[in-house]
């Protein structure tokens, strides 16, 4: 539930019923001046909830921006109940540098929410995003992908803390037109935007889709279809929400290699693997296999898998293996 349901603007973008406006939300300072995010405020002709959607918490995950554009093109503002707030560059320095983490302090923005107003650059950005989102949003969606490194299937994540907001987030995730939902209890996600917004009583989910340096039509349409279904679930449109969930997953193991060389992928993103199943191998520059990287758990959903021929030193994140809880 928004702290300020009668909000008038986000950054310099003003809410005007039936109109789509744009503006700038300041998130930090640099020696050359302010940095922030372009913002779109698409206000419906009818009153209703505010849907906050953001992209590029990780700078290379640009597919979410295209997905937001596609979604907004499909929205009939006159018939929309409530308002969509789109924050297109949630981590401006990382987007500019095309890096996953914030280049200035090296921090992973999605591990430091709710942030600190007097902390590091990433913590200050996180603090401003949460302050603005909790002020205006009734529901929130954070768009992610495998960036330039990994293939990621289309799936949803919510923070399964058991609270009323978490139950609403579960309903949103189930209605987000995805085949799998991660009902997350993994502690390393506790400081994600999704988890912290849910902790502050705003149901929030992550939608993951695409990556490996590519933004394909299926990724753009996947994000757009998910967002349209979430808006329907939130009561903002007359459309019927799409529930296509086939399985629930949780307890993610991040799998790292120890040998250095070139990685060759042996599984598909979104597939189910058994324990010890080879995920891929690391070969040296002479073509010898140095290491076969295996799933430490099973049956497990491949939530991310490194792309083939990636040059990897030891300690690269090769895969996310998320235990299948129910089908």
């Amino acid at each position: 539930m928004a702290l300020d349901p009668d909000w008038r603007s986000v950054g310099t973008a003003v809410r005007r019923p039936g109109e789509r406006t744009t503006g700038f939300l300041e998130l930090g300072g640099t020696p050359g001046g302010a940095v922030g995010s372009p913002v779109i405020v698409a206000a419906g002709g009818e009153p209703g909830p505010t849907l906050w959607v953001q992209a590029c918490v990780h700078g290379t995950e640009v597919g979410g921006i295209a997905g937001i554009h596609r979604f907004l093109e499909s929205v009939d503002l006159a018939g929309l109940r409530g308002t969509i707030v789109a924050v297109l560059s949630a981590n401006p320095l990382a987007l500019r540098a095309q890096t996953r983490n914030t280049p200035y302090d090296g921090e992973n923005l999605n591990r430091v929410f709710p942030g600190k107003h007097d902390g590091s650059h990433s913590q200050q950005v996180a603090s401003r995003l949460v302050a603005e989102a909790t002020r205006v949003a009734d529901v929130a969606v954070d768009l992610h992908s495998g960036g330039d490194r990994s293939h990621v299937p289309l799936y949803g994540i919510y923070w399964a803390s058991g609270s009323a907001a978490a139950r609403q987030a579960s309903e949103l995730a189930h209605a987000s037109a995805v085949p799998y939902v991660w009902a997350a209890t993994d502690s390393w996600l506790a400081h994600s935007f999704m988890a912290q917004m849910t902790e502050q009583n705003v149901p929030a989910i992550i939608i993951e889709c695409g990556g490996a340096g590519q933004v394909g039509e299926e990724h753009v349409s996947g994000f757009a279809r998910s967002l349209a279904s979430v808006a329907a679930q939130a009561g903002m449109t007359h459309a019927v929400p799409v529930n296509e969930v086939r399985g629930i997953i949780d307890e993610c193991t991040l799998v790292y290699n120890q040998a250095g060389g070139l990685f060759q992928r042996m599984v598909e993103p979104g597939s189910i693997v058994h324990e010890t199943q080879p995920l891929g191998r690391v070969v040296d520059l002479l073509g010898h296999t140095l290491e076969t990287v295996r799933s430490p758990v099973g049956p497990a959903y491949i939530g991310a898998i490194r792309k083939s021929w990636a040059a990897v030193p030891s300690g690269e994140m090769i895969a996310e293996c998320i235990k299948l809880q129910s089908e």
């Binding site: 930090g28 300072g29 030891s314």
Partner: protein, 330 residues
């Protein structure tokens, strides 16, 4: 003393009585081969304790590397007992890039000890350093500075948890000849090498000096002489450490961050004691206007300070302000 018998070598560097040897210690694998830390071992002419000294856990902090090499080159091995293992670039990837954190994963190595072989490359390197030091060394010294962005005074730091290893580390820290010693309990240091070693029973301390993207010969000498004093206190070298004065003891540290972007202009000096409300520095924007005035919230020792006109974003760490526990004397 270290529980296991001393190995014959560290990586490819051997222990040879009366000699200074060189080699490499593999810590991880790069795309085209091993990532190795350069190692020097100075072995005394008779048995004794093993002192592990490492530098450049943060790649840009090269004063320690040069001070360590200077000490190892000049130490008189005929009068030395035991051995000094010198790891000249503990984070080789950060050292090559001259960056504070490991470029491959962005991690700060001194926040991830004891590390993990099933983690990121920084954690794998940290694990191998930690295990090698823990199983071979009787005492450990980790050399740091303010790097490219900040300047620090010459001081020592040990983990103050009341254990026997902590008490031994304190004695070594006081012996080093600095005017200030930080008895640290701050939780954000818990992933530091010295904390993890102290908790596992090996006395360990940090020596800090200099930085600010500049290196004077005096700073290199500070590191070399501190190692020499610690080696005397640890029983490797004859004679007393020579430090007669009681150091100023400092404690809990506040990290101070900017909220504006621009250029940082210091209004105090590293090593100075500032009063509550006293100005630490200012952020001046590209138009020359003061955007932010930063003051100390308490009476504090300035343990680190951003260098003059450092370009800063919002969220730049520009000072470490420590509580003063007791004032030193002659």
């Amino acid at each position: 003393l270290a529980s296991a018998p001393r190995p014959d070598r560290i990586g490819s560097a051997a222990f040879v009585p009366g000699e200074l040897t060189r080699g490499d210690l593999p810590l991880a694998q790069h795309i085209d081969g091993p990532v190795s830390a350069p190692v020097m071992i100075a072995t005394g002419s008779r048995p004794g304790p093993t002192l592990w000294v490492q530098a450049a856990v943060h790649g840009g902090e090269v004063g320690g590397t040069l001070g360590l090499a200077r000490f190892l080159e000049r130490v008189e091995l005929s009068t030395m007992a035991g051995a000094v293992i010198g790891i000249l670039a503990a984070n080789p990837l950060a050292f090559q890039a001259q960056a504070r954190n490991t470029p491959q994963d962005g991690e700060n190595m001194n926040r991830v000890f004891p590390g993990s072989l099933s983690g990121t490359i920084t954690r794998q390197m940290a694990r191998r350093l930690f295990e090698t030091a823990r199983t071979t060394a009787d005492m450990v010294v980790d050399l740091h500075s303010g790097g490219a962005e900040a300047t620090v005074p010459f001081y020592t730091l040990y983990w103050d948890d009341g254990s026997p290893a902590s008490a031994a580390a304190r004695a070594l820290a006081v012996s080093a000849g600095t005017a200030t010693v930080w008895a640290a309990r701050d939780e954000w240091l818990s992933g530091a090498l010295i904390v993890q070693l102290t908790r596992s029973g090996t006395p360990a301390l940090i020596v800090e000096s200099g930085g600010g993207a500049a290196l004077e010969d005096g700073e290199i000498e500070s590191f070399a002489s501190a190692i020499e004093s610690i080696a005397r206190a640890g029983g490797l070298l004859p004679g007393s450490p020579g430090s007669a004065r009681e150091p100023t003891m400092i404690g809990s540290c506040d990290l101070v961050f900017t909220k504006e972007g621009g250029f940082f202009v210091p209004r105090c000096r590293p090593g100075q004691i500032v009063e509550g409300g006293e100005r630490i520095g200012e952020v001046v924007d590209v138009f020359g206007q003061v955007r932010e005035r930063i003051s100390s919230g308490k009476r504090a020792f300035v343990a680190a300070l951003g260098r003059p006109y450092l370009p800063v974003h919002s969220g730049a760490m520009i000072a470490e302000l420590n509580d003063i526990v007791s004032h030193g004397g002659a």
